[in-house]
Symmetry: C2
Subunit: 420 residues, 2 copies
């Protein structure tokens, strides 16, 4: 049997640790040169496969591959490109198989969230249908933490750590200023459908009364009067109030808080504006001076303060994907399973992609306090271990050293792809 080559691609929004998964895949492949030939990475994710833009990872030094463990972003490029329905768009999947065939690729490692789990499953299905064997393994990644069957998603722990630390630091700042100046600080974080990230800010509080005092979750319908009343109560008690708000927070009718108030001079709706909108509400109702921050990409790129646990898990799921492929598995997602003991432990597991695809893991209601503005002890026990440990990148000249890859493309063998 001729040794098969492998293909790896990054999908969707990147994280501080997705490259650690890439490093795991590449290093594991290099350790199994007897079974796996070359490992190609898709330039800009799955688009790299469709366009036959394949990066030869074999040209990168082992030092560079090791350095991926501490480099944020997507080293080979990612993409926002959702493969269409298999039935409506067979040509697209056929093109994938054609490229894989042309480059003797038998292993497909796809590193992403829910959509890419779905794509991974479909690749395995079309491969069976077309009689060209591909082992398709999904490597979980999403800051949203919404993948099912895994205790957490690599990428989430580092965002959680960044958000918790940022909340704590900003709260020390406003606490110093509140007596004569700013009384409200609002941090807006990512999470369109689920409040996992916003909830993790709750780890900033060590004891009752500590910031954050209010978390605005997408899971809890927003009621302006309740929010304002809570802000006023907190300020009267503590002198200031720290709010962490999820970008996806919305009213009972589904209208986003962010979308409801602002238009720019061109009449465009301003997005990502939960924080300024909440700040305006507070100013209008209570007159307090406010500050707000919008973490945006900073939160998911903050490799400088990544969670060590998250980095280790991201690396491990990359390695495990290769090992599972070598065990003959396909159409599975690698998972993180939490040990049963009181002390946190984790190990690698797997889930069938048939079950994973198109299921979103919601944050349990039991993680949110009764009043809808905080996290419970149960949530704290879930989140705490995920931010444990620091894994600092090396520094040169005062800056983290994030080396660049060569990213050399292999010669094309096929005609230009006319799709997308």
């Amino acid at each position: 049997m001729i040794k098969k080559n492998a293909f790896y691609a990054q999908s969707g929004g990147v994280t501080a640790v997705i490259n650690a998964s890439a490093s795991g895949v590449i290093e594991a492949c290099r350790e199994h040169k007897d079974k796996i030939g070359k490992l190609y990475a898709g330039q800009n994710g799955i688009l790299g496969a469709l366009h036959e833009n394949l990066i030869d990872t074999g040209k990168e030094t082992s030092a560079a591959i090791s350095a991926l463990k501490h480099t944020p972003g997507g080293a080979f490029g990612s993409c926002r490109y959702k493969m269409r329905n298999l039935e409506d768009s067979t040509a697209e999947y056929e093109r994938l198989i054609e490229v894989f065939k042309a480059h003797n690729i038998g292993y497909f490692f796809y590193n992403g969230g829910g959509d890419s789990a779905d794509t991974c499953l479909k690749v395995s299905q079309i491969s069976a249908r077309m009689g060209y064997p591909i082992q398709a393994i999904h490597i979980p990644k999403t800051i949203d933490n919404d993948l099912p069957f895994t205790d957490c998603s690599p990428g989430f722990g580092s965002v959680a750590k960044y958000v918790a630390i940022s909340t704590k630091e900003a709260s020390l700042d406003i606490a110093s200023m509140a007596a004569s100046s700013t009384k409200i600080f609002i941090l807006e974080v990512m999470g369109r459908h689920a409040g996992w990230i916003a909830a993790s800010a709750g780890l900033a509080a060590e004891e009752a009364g500590d910031a954050p005092h209010i978390i605005v979750f997408p899971e809890i319908p927003f009621v302006r009067e309740e929010f304002i009343a809570k802000v006023e109560k907190v300020v009267k008690k503590n002198g200031y109030c720290v709010v962490v708000a999820s970008e996806g927070a919305s009213y009972a009718d589904g209208a986003l808080i962010s979308g409801s108030l602002n238009k720019d001079a061109f009449g465009h709706q301003q997005l990502g504006g939960v924080a300024p909108t909440l700040a305006s509400m507070v100013k209008h109702a209570l007159g307090y001076k406010y500050h707000y921050a919008l973490a945006d990409y900073l939160q998911r790129a903050a490799r400088h303060i990544a969670s060590k646990t998250d980095v280790e898990q991201a690396y491990a799921v990359g390695r495990a994907a290769v090992e599972k492929a070598l065990q003959g598995k396909s159409a599975v997602m690698v998972t993180i399973e939490r040990g049963k003991g009181e002390k946190y432990s984790w190990h690698i597991g797997e889930a069938s992609l048939e079950k994973v695809a198109n299921v979103e893991k919601k944050m349990p209601r039991s993680f949110i306090t009764k009043d809808g503005f905080g996290i419970t002890q149960k949530a704290r026990e879930y989140f705490q271990p995920l931010i444990m440990g620091e894994d600092y990148p090396p520094y040169k000249q005062g800056m983290p050293y994030y080396p660049k890859l060569k990213k050399l493309l292999v010669d094309k063998k096929l005609r230009r792809w006319s799709g997308s």
Copy 2:
């Protein structure tokens, strides 16, 4: 001669390292118990003196005082309270002297920016006029880096490091996504009058073409057409464009970019909106998908990634203030002087407050490239040493350990103050 007590207060917007200065003052005072009695800290800055809310720093453990070196915010509380003109408001200054007299305070250590340098000078003047001797020493602090006669201001180096790292990390994120998604990332940073902070983002670039591609300085009148043309050129060349914009950036007529476009539903002008405004412009003119972040307090509270050089300098100016007082000096500001050698070095100096007060250090035009959108090699040589070294706080349970002080107030001896 009876030993005099000392008073220390924090003023204005806090920084990631102002507590390191506090630690320097307190530790130096403790080493000179033969000459300096008790050290009181103002609760919420100078307001603590006016209201006779004096924190007895002697009640804090040496471990807690040492931990201030790695704790952001203002541990004793700061304030935005500008002492009025000496002639118009003699009563206020007389009250200060009255409090100092009541508590046998002979040393006044004031930790802040330009306004507090001015207050410090006036305290020294009123003390002479009233015949109650006070040695008033100013300890520089400002993220704005706009104090004259000092090579840099403690607090600035850590913001610079945070902004440069955040710019670099976010640029790796957008570089991964640009082929199929977001093409513009804008980071808004502090700096109302001077572009020191925005300029420091330039350290994120290692070679030509690296992000940030555009810096929007308050020093350079903003011309929309030039900005849009530059964005388009950068995107055509690199596939994406990273912009760092100062909150104080404005048009030639002085109108702030941020103030010119947005109003919320209540008709309030939205402030701190340079990033969304620039993003809207780009979207409107070029159609690119964008993301933006607003660092706000996060940038000046980010002790987790403080510059080691900055921490050391902040601590040193605190210690030096005490030493200068013991040398009999008054009405001086402690300064950082840069050594002449090729390799960066620094030492403590001093400047007369007569000269310091009400002078703002502008960023030299020679630090900004001809086109107004970048920093020069000269700027790089100035900024580089200020972000050198990492000084990580200790961690507990995945979070930086920022201990709380007891902050016990001493008994009041005077009537309630009826001012402010």
